[in-house]
Symmetry: C2
Subunit: 414 residues, 2 copies
């Protein structure tokens, strides 16, 4: 790691590329991986600002491939790969597929989209390296794909967790599930929970394993769970060096605490990333994996930094609150989270509403039950307010707004 980082910094400092000259201008000598905090962070907007090629360390003509985001907000972000970068990309995906239990004589069904998105071609390169028989199914057409899984005899498949559920529903509808011999599923490109893992494993009778990646770093294959080490994927730290940083600051959080994952590419040629702020929240896990692999482990991604609330020093994800509210049938799925900032120490209030007017007399009992459940999970005190049926405002269009800040005496829900 130290040699690779030192070499990378040396190379970047000597480049005749304006972006890198500016980026590396304040950086002194780096002799060890322990000096990494001397380096500046990189953020996503720099990819947009250098579109398309101003961040590259080599001429685009010498590169081997370009991937890109779909560019929903104006210009896409593009990332370029040298031939050696593609070899590393295939290698980390080959390792990941092997972690899932793949063997060279498997038939492996890839239901990630192919093209500019890194998912399909990324896993495809890894699968070719492992030597499995690849079925490049790509996305969509779930009934057809369920038929292929049954007829072609895949032992493993990969896709997004939500597509795995859709595909499974289709296979069950069509009466094909018994013919499907899949034993493992590699799922990623969306955050997903342990509850979702259980659902998919029950549905398919597979080991469902989390793969993590992002195109800015390389694509899928940055982190991967192994069958024996579910819950804490490892990061391939011979290529991708991880740090966990204060989401709202520049310093590392204490070892084992949650923070923002920051990654430095140690070996990337065409478009290296120095301390890239991923926006994803995780923490270091120091227990070794039962599978024997010795890469650094991290917790599964809990969510995005932007979604995380910090209440009295504790990180709280709206998704954890949602799970508890949805779990109690006495209240509807509607809820609102109010962060009350009128005191120096923020207080958290959760508002929900009764499912049934007949339960009006049980309001206190339901409130106490929810408060206990939230307290147990979040480890902070939460005030619950159980309103009348249909008392919470509904939102018909767009992404539901769930989190409200309260700084004055007006009710933030209006």
């Amino acid at each position: 790691q130290s040699d690779r980082l030192t070499g990378l910094v040396h190379r970047l400092k000597s480049l005749d590329v304006p972006y890198w000259q500016e980026k590396m201008s304040g950086v002194g000598f780096v002799t060890s991986i322990d000096d990494i905090a001397e380096l500046p962070f990189t953020v996503k907007s720099e990819l947009r600002d250098t579109y398309p090629y101003d961040m590259l360390t080599m001429p685009i003509e010498d590169c081997a491939r370009i991937h890109a985001s779909s560019g929903t907000s104006g210009k896409p972000t593009v990332v370029a790969y040298s031939k050696e970068d593609l070899r590393v990309f295939a290698d980390v995906n080959a390792r990941s597929i092997t972690c899932a239990g793949a063997r060279p004589d498997d038939i492996f069904h890839i239901a990630y989209g192919y093209g500019l998105f890194t998912g399909g071609l990324g896993l495809h390169g890894g699968a070719e390296m492992v030597g499995v028989t690849v079925v490049p199914a790509s996305g969509g057409n779930s009934a057809f794909q369920a038929g292929l899984l049954a007829d072609l005899g895949a032992r493993g498949f990969c896709c997004t967790p939500s597509f795995a559920v859709l595909l499974g529903e289709r296979a069950i509808e069509l009466g094909l599930m018994d013919q499907i011999k899949a034993e493992y599923a590699i799922l990623g490109a969306e955050p997903w929970s342990e509850a979702m893992r259980q659902k998919i494993e029950d549905m398919w009778g597979v080991d469902a394993l989390d793969i993590y990646g992002l195109s800015e770093i390389i694509g899928p294959g940055v982190m991967m769970e192994s069958v024996a080490g579910k819950g804490a994927p490892f990061i391939y730290d011979d290529h991708f060096f991880p740090e966990v940083i204060e989401p709202d600051g520049d310093n590392a959080v204490p070892r084992g605490e949650y923070g923002e994952l920051v990654i430095t590419t140690l070996t990337k040629e065409a478009q290296p990333m120095i301390r890239y702020r991923t926006g994803d929240v995780t923490r270091f896990v120091d227990e070794p994996s039962a599978c024997g692999r010795t890469f650094q482990r991290l917790d599964r991604i809990s969510g995005r930094v932007d979604d995380m609330l910090i209440i009295r020093g504790v990180n709280v994800f709206p998704s954890a609150i949602e799970a508890i509210v949805l779990d109690d049938d006495s209240v509807t799925g509607q809820y609102a989270i109010v962060v009350d900032r009128r005191d120096a120490m923020a207080n958290l209030e959760v508002r929900c509403e009764l499912s049934d007017a007949a339960d009006l007399s049980k309001r206190d009992e339901i409130r106490d039950r929810l408060e206990r459940a939230l307290n147990r999970t979040l480890r902070i005190r939460v005030a619950v307010n159980v309103g009348d049926p249909q008392s919470l405002p509904r939102q018909e269009v767009g992404k539901a707004k769930r989190v409200f800040q309260r700084t004055g005496d007006d009710d933030p829900l209006g």
Copy 2:
């Protein structure tokens, strides 16, 4: 060719695979490519009947990849590739891209669909072998793709001819055409005409070149035009041996006459094809290509065997008649072709209708003009009937029926 064919026949005869045992049971010694007519034909339904793996010459576990048709009529047809088959697949596509004028320092934009369809991954493998910088754009999203062509600086691209037109229209609408530096376009997977080539070349300022292939043989890269030899692509006959056969029979047509293209794969490992009837109509072209390549040349595909009419020994494609009718503004785009088989020698009648009732008095003049044009192009006598405006039956749903057979005195159009 002789050695490869002899080796292939020897291998297939010795296989312990029921399909091949039956297929090769009547085949005697083959010592030269000239004996190829001793071998049985293969037709598409055999791929369906052996679904998924009964045609393979090796265990599916030893294969490297599967491609498949989308299976609109029930089960898909699948084709399997060994690792060596994929190398050949990449090699013939690398040659094809080079024929178009590609150089290793190009940026090459692939707008064929990726996945089970052979187009995207086929050209992708060839492009990697050439060493260009690949932009795996895949299908769809034409406005976004036009932006990428302008911003990323592709020197070449590939897609279907119809997508090239759509992409070009989008680039013009968005004012991007001037920024696009493309010099060549590799187009295939749909039949297209010289008129379409002219349209695309004018629109884009590129050399537009025809690539031909079919998944049963390998995918794209079976035949390719070169810049200096437009109009007559060559077939890579070190791998794919061509014959041109009577569409309704088993014998070769005289050299240079039109017939059905039949291909034998000389080197394919996992799923070879013996005398596969492609259903595509072409003829041998013996003039050497100006580019100096010495592969056997063929005429561009004129259409499907099923669409071809044989009138007095002359092959007539409905598309040729359509082009002439559409070219005359006095008649509408509606037409019907009646093959009158009441005599031993079939007669051809084309029915169209006036665009404008004001032209009723010019009916004879218009008829004579169309008859002359059809006679000049088709080299057979055609009777034209110019009906009143709106006199031809319209069909609202499905593929238009244009060709009618007349065997009795009733009017086949009813």
